[in-house]
């Protein structure tokens, strides 16, 4: 059994001391460049430093993510201090100040500092989910060590921003020399851990995994200065390779005398011993694979996320290597934050070639993965895509919010190229902000929808699509589909077999992808029935259920739907109700909070303004436009800020106002024997009021919010739920698909028909056409064929008659 000394070799790049000694392996006869400063041993510090005595039987584990020191430094960027400096350092070190070669890291101090950090760091304001269940007023990382002793998972994740706030210098060292500092951290943690929990047994020694290094956020900003430093970048996984067994140590056995020797891999190569040291036979050593040591490794390709990219360029990709237990932690499509060490390796020198390509291959050795979209699967928290706003930006936004006319300003900034339709823009603005998310799942009442759904219908050519396009471009998680081109599968999710891995993969469609965003569906009316039916679940329950190919699951689809529909007859018929015009099932329509008609107003003053607007659009210079309207970026930030930070609640007055509004709405109908409002309408009102409060950056929903919600709701109803026959607003058009008067008339016709048939006496069968003519002759009101057929159907439902082909039989 070899001593668990391997780990210390991993990190010690040598502290200059007066007594150099070799690590055990070098004695196996490897050719080692003794002159290299990398080979300076550190016997004293290592022996004392590694808490081997305390660790007892817990073996150390190699950290291929940090790389063996001996392979470094292949590329040197941060210009190293010339050797003179190193000499100075070592001279100073005669006291207590030994530093690791090439750095300013003193192992002892570093260790001490980190231990102090672990023992003392408290972050009362922490709201990370990793810290759930921990007492925030106690030292955070000591609690985590305790957790390790209980759970037995020897990994300690350390948030770099914590280190920074505790000791900026330590943080700088960690970022600049991760290869040296992290092993020191490991050492410190293990010392501390086994001191505190001497009896615990772990699989291997604890490894420290720092994350959230603030150095780099964006893949595009990586540059040569970042090489060999610790960085954090975000991106999306696009490919993962098979597991690659990477040889760490080769095992050679002599075929003649069975003498064996181990050779460590150096820069990806093994120096095969030519001569057996035992029997001096030449070329007798053979590699024994199953006694060599391998570590797991996986290549992962990460592409920068679309939000980080400048327009008009293609996304960059970076290669990432995951080692040991980080292998297979991520799947293609995951959005992740990666913390790791940025490496550059020169292209391999070809022995046959005298000159080489002057290009380096770069990759990242990953230390820590953090999925950014993980929470979407099981959380309510929206922190995951929390956008960071600078102080000044927040100031600008708050200033804007404090203006009394902010609501009008924002709504006019929305799609400035589209003329007027103020109320529609206001509705869409409220949709962009959304209501407050309420979770009653603990009490068994489930989630309440916070998203506002809007349907636009109207004549073709009234820039509905343009509005949709604008919204799609405005929101970060927007999806745009056309009803004509999308199937149920494209909207929801489908199961696919990956051609490479033969694995079943769930491919998500537009609705799932726009979770927390807006799904814009154009040509809603052209959608097939089966496609539309999936929307029922999404639009009320905000989930999507899938049962396909053995995968049964429910995905979150908390998306707002903004749909546009054209009338069936291509031109809006004002004599018909909304339902008749767009031929959509009322069950679906009732799920829209607001239904707007975009009609041509046909009014001279409007035409003039429109003309003026369009001329200005074409001939105004860029600057003039900018002056008039808010910048799209400001609007974007405003919405993002409000969505993340503002969660308004109803105050007493507002609740009262809402109740009154609802009762009023019910009253209107009850006078005429109709139901004019349903709880769904009340919910819509609440959502709209909350959204309006968000627009004002207010934490309370007040009466003015309710007033605006009422106004907008009424306005939409007035447009879409007016019974063309009576001129009254009739909500039942939207909820049952038929206005109350129409229903009444239908009953009357059926009654008249029945009476007529009864008056004819005992005739078991009648001609269809004959009956129709008779009824028309008898009735004073005009009876259309549709009405006649409806009446027949009603009677058939009563089991009074049946219709077969052209004959009507009594039962």
């Amino acid at each position: 059994m070899r001593q668990p000394i391997g780990r210390s070799e991993n990190w010690q790049c040598g502290v200059r001391t007066t007594t150099p000694s070799m690590p055990p392996l070098t004695s196996t006869g490897l050719e080692v460049d003794m002159s290299s400063p990398l080979m300076y041993g550190t016997p004293s510090s290592r022996v004392e430093g590694t808490p081997r005595s305390g660790v007892g039987g817990t073996p150390a584990r190699q950290r291929p993510d940090l790389g063996s020191i001996r392979k470094a430094p292949q590329v040197d960027l941060h210009s190293e201090p010339p050797s003179a400096d190193g000499a100075v350092a070592s001279e100073q070190a005669l006291g207590q100040k030994l530093v690791i070669w090439g750095t300013d890291v003193n192992v002892g101090t570093c260790k001490e500092k980190f231990q102090r950090f672990l023992q003392r760091f408290i972050d009362p304001a922490s709201n990370e989910d990793e810290n759930a269940g921990l007492d925030l007023n106690e030292p955070l990382y000591m609690q985590k060590l305790e957790e390790i002793s209980v759970v037995g998972e020897p990994v300690l994740n350390v948030n770099c921003s914590h280190v920074q706030s505790f000791d900026a210098d330590l943080y700088r060292q960690l970022i600049s020399y991760p290869q040296e500092v992290i092993p020191t951290f490991d050492m410190a943690v293990n010392e501390l851990f086994f001191e505190r929990f001497p009896d615990s047994i772990l699989e291997h020694q604890i490894q420290v995994r720092p994350y959230n290094a603030l150095k780099t956020r964006n893949m595009r900003s990586l540059n040569p200065e970042d090489i060999d430093q610790m960085i954090t970048i975000s991106g999306m996984v696009i490919r993962t390779s098979q597991l690659i067994p990477e040889m760490q140590e080769a095992f050679f056995q002599c075929q003649v005398c069975a003498f064996f020797t181990r050779v460590e891999v150096d820069r990806g190569r093994i120096a095969e011993p030519a001569v057996c040291r035992n029997c001096n036979t030449i070329h007798s050593l053979a590699l024994i694979h199953n006694r060599s040591a391998f570590s797991d490794k996986q290549m992962i390709k990460v592409q920068e996320s679309p939000d980080d990219m400048p327009a008009g360029q293609t996304p960059h990709t970076t290669i990432v290597y995951a080692h040991n237990d980080l292998v297979d932690k991520v799947q293609p499509g995951d959005r992740i934050n990666i913390t790791g060490i940025y490496r550059a390796v020169p292209m391999r020198e070809n022995p046959r070639q005298s000159n080489v390509k002057s290009v380096y291959k770069t990759h990242i050795d990953v230390i820590h993965f953090r999925k950014t979209d993980e929470k979407r699967l099981h959380g309510l928290d929206e922190d995951s895509d929390q956008k960071l706003f600078t102080e000044e930006r927040v100031q600008i936004l708050k200033e804007l919010a404090s203006k009394p006319d902010v609501y009008d300003r924002l709504s006019s900034a929305l799609a400035p190229s589209i003329y007027e339709h103020e109320d529609i823009k206001k509705g869409i603005l409220l949709q962009l902000f959304g209501g407050t998310r309420k979770d009653f799942s603990q009490t068994g009442r489930g989630n309440f929808r916070a998203e506002v759904n809007i349907l636009l219908c109207g004549d073709p050519g009234t820039s509905k699509s343009q509005l949709l396009q604008y919204v799609f471009n405005l929101v970060p998680r927007g999806q745009y589909t056309s009803g004509k081109g999308s199937s149920a599968v494209g909207l929801t999710a489908y199961v696919m077999k990956d051609p490479e891995t033969k694995q079943l993969v769930l491919q998500t469609g537009a609705l799932v992808l726009s979770d927390n965003g807006i799904c814009c569906i154009d040509e809603f009316d052209k959608m097939s029935d089966s496609t539309r039916s999936v929307l029922h679940e999404v639009m009320e329950q905000q989930t999507l259920s899938i049962a396909k190919a053995g995968i049964i699951c429910q995905l979150n689809a908390r998306t707002s739907v903004l749909a546009a529909a054209n009338p069936v007859e291509s031109q809006w018929n004002p004599k018909k109700t909304t339902i008749e015009n767009i031929q959509l099932p009322h069950t679906l329509l009732s799920r829209f909070d607001l239904i707007f008609l975009m009609l041509d107003p046909q009014d001279e003053a409007y035409d003039r303004r429109l003309a003026h607007h369009l001329v200005a659009l074409y001939y105004q210079s860029e600057e003039q436009i900018e002056e008039e309207f808010l910048d799209m970026a400001v609007l974007k930030d405003y919405i993002a800020y409000a969505r993340t930070y503002i969660n308004p609640r109803l105050n007493e007055e507002a609740s009262q106002a809402l109740i009154e509004a609802y009762v009023d709405m019910r009253k209107i109908g009850s006078g005429r024997g109709m139901v004019s409002a349903y709880p769904r309408q009340l919910e819509s009102l609440i959502r709209l009021a909350e959204a309006h409060a968000k627009v004002r950056f207010s934490d309370k929903v007040e009466t003015i919010d309710v007033e605006e919600a009422k106004r907008l709701h009424r306005e939409a109803l007035k447009q879409s739920a007016t019974d063309p026959r009576t001129g009254f607003v009739d909500i039942s058009i939207l909820t049952t698909g038929m206005s109350a008067t129409a229903r009444k008339r239908k009953e009357e016709v059926a009654r008249a028909l029945k009476k007529m048939i009864q008056s004819k006496g005992k005739t078991p069968a009648m001609k269809y056409q004959q009956l129709f003519d008779d009824l028309r002759g008898q009735s004073e009101a005009a009876i259309t064929k549709d009405m006649f057929e409806e009446a027949l159907r009603a009677l058939a439902d009563e089991d009074y008659l049946t219709v077969t082909g052209k004959t009507v039989r009594l039962l």
């Binding site: 040569p224 190569r269 970076t318 293609p332 000159n355 001279e604």
Partner: protein, 609 residues
């Protein structure tokens, strides 16, 4: 000769490494030299001169489109080598080079790592044969290397020269000019050009956006101003040609036993290797010194916005009106005597997306010519359009092509490159969609996607590139002309039913006669007009604004159903393209004519929507 400056410049400077500003100085020097009159034509062009006639490490230029942008790479900006004989350490410069000198000391602390990016560039897709020909003639006077004696081309040279002065007749049929050109290229660089594009893909897919394209593709190494370049930019790149055969050898099959051990080797799939490191003999490397963004690729116009150009413009403006009238007459003949359609076609050809207001592109003018006679009329029409514009492509919308062709570029993650599609076009390319080729039948899913992509292109002037996990929107500026029998199934800004005034018994002959009646100098004037008219600005006075408002209100009063905001949009575009003070009146007038014609058509056909 000028091309040797590079070699002399780089090496000594690097060796001393005393002056850190030498890089800036090199650039300045070259820019200065290239500014000089005529100096552009000194530099041999990769577009014109076959690769094997160019000297490696010499200065060349390349007129191209950025098809793909690869990941940034780090290279040894400065490195140290050990001279094997003297054992002395020498500092060397790695900039503008692909390979290092022998014996690099990897652990030297004098190594400086620097960053550069590789663009995959292809010749401008759909460049018209005449544009190639003229730029070839004006530039290829230099003899790029002593071994390149263009004796074989002598005959064609003379021919070309003749063409400048003599009527078109000389090189009739005109397409002959194009094929001859291709033929010449083929004989000169047979390695990079196989006869059919399908052959190319099996051998080495050069990833041209359009099928049947020829010419060298190039890996351009970019050192400065990485952010200023965008995908689909058209550039004229001046740089150092590198065709080091070492590159090819390095790209060869690796020893498989080493693959397991060496992490750097296993990073790339064979596909990726092939896409990113193709043999230098087929895809040369070009180390960019300087790139000039091209506003247009019309060789008849000065390309740089210099005083040179403004002088040219003002001199041409004088005869603008007369050229326009002549061109209109020419197009009227081509469109079988239909003057209205000719005017719309002219407007279409000079339209240009000049700005965008939020999502709305302003200035696009997609024309739908309906009622086109069948039997290869559209094909001939395209050939005439091709004669006039510097960049064009005819997409025959048959069921088969719609179902099988790749229109939208797609990211191939295995090879890590953007696989091009026919809609990856340079700005102001004329896309000729021939819907008369479409027959009844079933569109499959890719066909539907293609049609949707065309619809998006027309409505929003953007193409959503497929990045498989997400889509990315690339704005474009493409003039789309749709020819169809009835109204097109694609959206369009303006539909004009063609009303032939003449019915020639033999269409072919008729069009050929018209075509031949034009002198080359005349055609060249048309070409200049079309390119120039597009760039002109136009502003509107207050009176006109008022007039527009009044007119719109009046029109709405008469018939609110038929005049909508969309109509106003169209008329405003037309007015701004007409580019004259009475643009609005003219726009109103021709729109009225067009409208009455569509009405007429409607009542004739009865059931057309």
């Amino acid at each position: 000769m000028r091309m040797w400056f590079v070699c002399r410049f780089c090496c000594p400077a690097a060796q001393s490494n005393s002056n850190p500003e030498w890089e800036a100085k090199v650039l300045e020097y070259f820019k200065g030299q290239l500014k000089e009159k005529e100096s552009h034509s000194w530099v041999p062009s990769l577009n014109d001169v076959p690769l094997h006639y160019l000297k490696p490490n010499s200065l060349v230029k390349f007129r191209c489109l950025v098809q793909d942008m690869f990941d940034p790479e780090f290279y040894m900006g400065v490195y140290e080598t050990v001279d094997p004989s003297t054992k002395a350490n020498v500092l060397r410069c790695g900039k503008y080079k692909d390979v290092t000198e022998c014996g690099v000391d990897l652990n030297s602390r004098n190594t400086v790592t620097a960053e550069r990016q590789t663009f995959y560039c292809v010749p401008i897709p759909g460049e018209s044969p005449w544009a190639k020909e003229i730029s070839f003639l004006s530039a290829a006077r230099v003899v790029p290397s002593t071994s390149y004696v263009p004796s074989r081309q002598k005959r064609s040279y003379e021919e070309d020269d003749d063409m400048d002065t003599q009527p078109q007749k000389q090189r009739e049929p005109h397409t002959g000019g194009g094929t001859k050109w291709c033929h010449r290229q083929e004989t000169e660089a047979p390695s990079s050009q196989t006869t059919a594009p399908s052959d190319c893909s099996s051998h080495l897919d050069l990833n041209f956006p359009l099928p049947g394209e020829r010419g060298p593709a190039c890996l351009v190494k970019v050192y400065e101003g990485l952010d200023s370049f965008k995908l689909n930019d058209t550039l004229e790149i001046y740089g150092i040609l590198s065709v080091n055969p070492v590159l090819t050898v390095l790209g060869e099959e690796k020893d498989p036993s080493l693959l397991l051990l060496n992490p750097t080797e296993s990073m790339e799939t064979p596909e990726e290797q092939r896409a990113h490191d193709p043999p230098a003999s087929l895809v040369p490397r070009l180390h960019m010194l300087y790139a000039r963004p091209l506003q247009h690729n019309n060789p008849l116009l000065p390309s740089a916005p210099t005083e040179d150009q403004s002088a040219f413009v003002s001199s041409f403006l004088v005869e603008m009106a007369s050229v326009r009238a002549e061109l209109l007459a020419y197009l009227t003949h081509v469109l079988l005597g239909d003057g209205l359609a000719a005017e719309y076609l002219l407007l279409h050809l000079i339209s240009n997306v000049y700005t965008r207001r939020d999502v709305l592109p302003l200035g696009k003018f997609t024309l739908n010519l309906s009622g086109c006679p069948l039997n290869s009329y559209t094909e001939r029409l395209y050939q005439i359009v091709q004669q006039l514009v510097p960049c064009s492509y005819r997409l025959s919308m048959s069921l088969h092509t719609m179902n099988s062709m790749r229109l939208v570029p797609k990211k191939d993650y295995v090879a890590n490159r953007l696989v091009s599609g026919a809609l990856q076009l340079a700005r102001n390319t004329s896309l000729f969609l021939d819907e008369t080729q479409l027959e009844q039948g079933q569109l499959d899913s890719s066909g539907v996607r293609n049609i949707t992509a065309l619809g998006n292109l027309i409505s929003w002037q953007k193409v959503d590139y497929d990045f498989s996990y997400h889509q990315m929107e690339f704005p474009c500026n493409i003039n789309v002309l749709v020819t169809s029998e009835g109204r097109s199934l694609l959206p369009s800004d303006c539909q004009v039913p063609l009303q032939p005034q003449v019915t020639p018994p033999n269409m072919e002959e008729y069009l050929t006669t018209i075509h031949m009646a034009q002198f080359t100098s005349q055609i060249n004037k048309f070409r200049v007009y079309l390119s120039l008219a597009r760039t002109l600005d136009y502003s509107i006075s207050d009176e006109v604004t008022k007039a527009v408002e009044d007119d719109f209100v009046d029109m709405r009063k008469d018939d609110p159903q038929s005049v909508t905001a969309e109509d106003l949009h169209r008329m405003l575009v037309v007015a701004s393209i007409t580019c004259s003070s009475n643009g609005w009146m003219r726009a109103k007038h021709i729109d009225m004519l067009r409208r009455s014609r569509t009405e007429q058509q409607k009542s004739l056909n009865g059931n057309e929507p």
